[in-house]
Structure formats: structure tokens, C-alpha cells
Symmetry: C2
């Protein structure tokens, strides 16, 4: 059997995670039994939610286990099949985690139509969890109406970039918040947002207010922190706030406090947290719609591809600081 490089969760971080929390080991890949397949990881998705999985505390999913490969969604190739539904060479969506090989029974595998999901790494982004998160969260909670203003933080990222483009498709003014002039330029020039505000630098609130002359009807929350505090006073009556992520707070033992609920009362706002699996079943056509818009060029999607499993920890730390530019994936094989 081939050698399997694995990155194990070695310890749980307090605050910002570091290289010591992970450990790379080499073991021979396991042999698949009857009804199983051996999968070779092609792409590993790196996502902000993984920071939560490194913690022991209760959350919406079980913590990653110490001494086991760090968890993660992957696109993989069937290297050996002893399962009637899968053939060698099939490309599947799987949960290999941070390792080069994994054995799986067919239960959690989803065969990819590589004519539609092209490149196949899109199954980890626009045509996977992040794209569905944007679609379902914006539609179900954001309820954008023509002419309204939608603000999204982390606007050049895996989810935010889709939120803003969908808002445009729904006839809204789309305003992004992103880190640095290069990302902001991309959000406007390539993704077609109406405006993008750099969260670095002074007077964030004033610059955001200038970009939202009619206030904010939907704030799609990916980050929390200072961006949240700048957006909050701009929210209109009956504003909707889908709470999708709070990346600014994930490493912070003393995060900024949340908004005073008096504003939620006087503006009769709806603030609602969600994860994609709560809402996805209500939108069975989302995947096909996103794929069609992508192939028509109506939705652009940028990937930030890092080469080599060994670089996953470093790339993940960068993600938590906003260093990636587009959906972060690791090309493993």
C-alpha cells in the first residue's frame, strides 16, 4: 500500500492556533475491505469553521479528535474499489480530512459529474458547502428584495463572493467589505459588486455609510468584530442579519461584545444564525442554478490553491487572518 501522509490534531489551541497543534505522520494506507474504497485525496478544503472543530466545547458539530487526522471535506479519486457503486478513477466528494489517503464505505461519498463540476475543486466551493451557504442563508434569512442594499463581509472569500453576486442577480445593491485594496478592486471589477470598502484603515463606518446611501437592509455576517460594529448603526428598519460566521472572534479570548439588542428592538430586526445543513434541504435547485450561472459567466469564483498537504496548517492560519484571496483549497495530489 502507498504511504499515507496525515496531519493529526495534536493539541487544542487557546486563542490563535499554531504549528504545534498539528503533527504530520507517515503510515501505510489501509487496505479497503469488502464494500469499501481507498480514496486518494486530490483537494482538501480549508474553511473557517475548522477553527471551531479544534475546540473541545459544545458546538453544532462534534470536536475533531486529538490524535486523529484533522477533519475536512475533500475531493478524491477512487484508487481501489471493493464497492459495487464505485469504479477506480471515479471522482468523489468525501470527508478524508487532512491526509493523502482514506478508506471509506460508500455511505458518505458523492460521485461528482466532472462535466458540471469543472474544475472538481468547485465541489468544495461554489458548487459545494460555501456556495450553498451563501445561497441558502441569503435567500432564507436575508430575503433580499429588488432595490435593497446587501452588505457582506469577507466579500472576496468563498461565501461572501457568492452572496454579493447573488444579491446583484436579485436586483440589489451589493456592497462588500474586504481586507486591502487588491481584494476590494477584485470585488468591484471582477465580481461586479456596486462598491467594496476596505476594513483596514480609519473611518470604516463613514466609508461604509458613504457606500450605502440608503442604509443597509441585509447584512450577511461572516466576520463579526469591528466590521459588525461599523455596519450595525447603518441597518434599516426590518433589516435581516444572517449570521454565518464570526471569524474575527474565533481566535480571540476577549472578542468585542455583541450589539445592544435595543437596536434589534427599535429597528425590528431579525438576527438569525444558521449552518448550511439547516437550510440546504429547502433549496434542492440551488446547486444547478449556481452551476448554470457559473457556466454562463454570471457568477465568477476565485480559488486560492495551495500546493501540498504539508502546507495546510500554514494556509489555515493565514485563512484565519484573511491572507487567502478567494476560496482556499489545498492541492494534495
Amino acid at each position: 500500500m502507498p504511504t499515507n501522509r496525515q496531519i493529526l490534531l495534536k493539541s487544542r489551541p487557546t486563542g490563535t492556533p499554531s504549528a504545534e497543534n498539528f503533527e504530520m505522520v507517515r503510515t501505510p494506507a489501509s487496505e479497503p475491505g469488502d464494500g469499501e474504497v481507498l480514496l486518494r485525496t486530490l483537494f482538501l478544503s480549508l474553511d473557517p469553521y475548522m477553527r471551531g472543530r479544534m475546540n473541545a466545547g459544545p458546538s453544532y458539530a462534534a470536536p475533531a479528535e486529538i490524535g486523529k487526522p484533522m477533519v475536512g471535506r475533500t475531493v478524491a479519486e477512487v484508487a481501489v474499489s471493493r464497492h459495487p457503486r464505485f469504479a477506480t478513477g471515479d471522482i468523489v466528494l468525501s470527508d478524508n480530512g487532512w491526509q493523502e489517503y482514506a478508506v471509506a464505505n460508500g455511505g458518505n461519498l458523492q460521485k461528482l459529474d466532472i462535466e458540471v463540476v469543472k474544475p472538481p475543486s468547485l465541489a468544495l466551493g461554489l458548487l459545494g458547502m460555501p456556495g450553498m451557504t451563501a445561497y441558502a442563508g441569503l435567500t432564507e434569512i436575508g430575503q433580499p428584495k429588488q432595490g435593497e442594499t446587501v452588505v457582506v463581509s469577507a466579500a472576496s472569500g468563498a461565501v461572501g463572493s457568492v452572496v454579493g453576486q447573488l444579491a446583484r442577480i436579485r436586483g440589489c445593491r451589493a456592497v462588500g467589505v474586504a481586507g486591502g485594496p487588491e481584494k476590494c478592486r477584485y470585488v468591484v471589477a471582477t465580481l461586479g459588486f456596486d462598491a467594496c470598502v476596505d476594513h483596514r484603515g480609519d473611518n470604516l463606518r463613514e466609508r461604509l455609510a458613504a457606500a450605502c446611501p440608503k442604509g443597509v437592509d441585509v447584512y450577511f455576517e461572516n466576520v463579526g468584530g469591528a466590521t459588525q460594529q461599523a455596519v450595525w448603526p447603518l441597518l434599516n428598519n426590518f433589516a435581516r442579519v444572517p449570521v454565518c460566521g464570526m471569524i474575527a472572534a474565533y481566535n480571540d479570548p476577549n472578542p468585542l461584545p455583541g450589539p445592544d439588542l435595543r437596536s434589534v428592538l427599535t429597528k425590528r430586526m431579525t438576527v438569525r444564525g444558521f449552518i448550511v445543513t439547516d437550510l440546504a434541504p429547502k433549496y434542492p435547485n440551488a446547486h444547478a442554478e449556481l452551476a448554470a450561472w457559473y457556466h454562463e459567466g454570471k457568477i465568477k469564483y476565485r480559488e486560492d490553491v495551495v500546493e501540498g498537504l504539508e502546507r495546510a496548517p500554514e494556509a489555515f492560519f493565514g485563512l484565519l487572518q484573511g491572507k487567502n484571496f478567494g476560496k482556499l483549497v489545498v492541492k494534495v495530489a
Copy 2:
């Protein structure tokens, strides 16, 4: 014409309002013109929202005007009618504000069926804005399901007392939070809540946790502040928080910060502010249901009746400190 005693808003308070913000004047009542009535105020409703009306800032309703009678909902008797739809002696729901007499055209008046609304002051409480607030907020946002736990703050008050009794009718465990042992006893013994926790004293969070062994599915928010902070960690996944009032914060220039939205995310909570007029049109039968339950004895309703218009300011200040016990009304005539 009779003498009309009026309490005018004299100035806007910073923080806690005081007697200097009001002024009593005596003027002759105005003569009603054609199509108008002269109303004699019987009962004046005192409600927490009035604190917001004393401010100049934008909110969901226009501020009360300086030099004009303080605003307020009233039950009144038609003293003189020059309107074809109203006869002398009719009892109506009106917006006289803090004064003994007011002239009105028929537009804003609602004739009361005093066989159903008995005593007529109920039109300011259970069978008026506070009862409808409880009904619509709990039903539309709280969405209580059989077997769930509903916590309501200000549980002996105009809205909270109805919320808990409705929760019981819906098959939920109803847990109140109130100030002092007398109110807590009343909430359990008379209103039939499953438990009531005194927000005064130590270990509020622990006592609340003990009263909610299965966590909290609905938190009907009337107060904010320390009660909110104690309830928040007990909220279950998919909890709903109708935000109806924040009385603990109304006079506080530095209110406690709101909850970290990470909890809203990880527990996929819905936090939604509302005012009664947003939701009431969806529940046209609420009034009749509440009246029926009241007359069957399924819902109890306690009024705290203060005698004399001149005592309205003092009673209102007490309301903001939780000194009232039940729905606060002023018997004006």
C-alpha cells in the same frame, strides 16, 4: 367647559426621568366642533414604551412633543358628541394622553363593548396593546411547541403575565423572572407558571438553570440587562428570542453590552425585535381568544390601579423601576 388638567412634557430626560420633565397645567377643555367629540378620560395606560417617546432620537414612533400633553392610550367616555357615530356615554379607546379631557374626531376612536371588555380598563391591558403584544410576539416569533421551555422576563407585568399563561395553554413549561418574592409567588400560585425566579439576589443564572432543566427554547425579552445575561447561556439550539422590550436599558446611558453573536451562530438562534403593530394584523382572532380565556378563568390578569392623574409621573417612574405589580393604569375620573 370643564377645567382640563393636563400633564405636559416639559423637557427631555437624560437617563432617568424625573418630576421636572413634566408640568401640570389647568386650561378649560376645548369645545368639540362639528364631527368631533369631547372625551373624558377614565383610565390612562402607563407603559414602558413611553420612556422612548420622551427621547428626541429616531425610533419606531415620533417623539412626544415638548409643551404638549404627554402621549398615552386611554379609555374615555364621550362627554359631548357632535359626531353621528358616537353618543354621550359611549366608552371608547382613544389616545387622549395625560389629560382629563380631549377633543377627537372619530377617526382614531374605537367603541368598546363593555360586556366583553369588563372592566373597560382591560382595553389597555389584556384586551389591548399589551395582550396583543404577548399573543403576537409569542406566536409569530416564539413559535412555542408542546414540551418546550418558555422563559419570560417581567413575568408579573402587563405583557409577561400573558406570555407565560399562553405558553402554558400551548403545552410549554413556563418559567417567569420577576422582582421580589411576592411577585414570584403570584406568578406561580395565581398565574400558574411552572416556576418563577427572583432576579434580585445572587446566583440568578444558577437558579434559572435549576428552573429550566431542559434549557430554554423561547426567551421572551422584556427587560435586557442582567436577566438577559443570565438566560443567554441556557438557550438551546434553534432557540427563538422575541425582543419586545429592554426596560433595564431605557434609563441607562451605559447599558450592558448585548450577547456575543457567536452564540446566535453556534446555536442557530433567531433574535427578532418587533412592535405590536407589525404583527397584530396577522392575528385577527387574538382579541376574541384572549377574552374567552379570560372569562373562562384560564387567563388571569392583574391591574395596578393608581388613583388620580396627578400621580401619573410618579407611577411611571415606578414602572421603570419595576415597582408596579400588574398592568399599571391611572384612574383619571
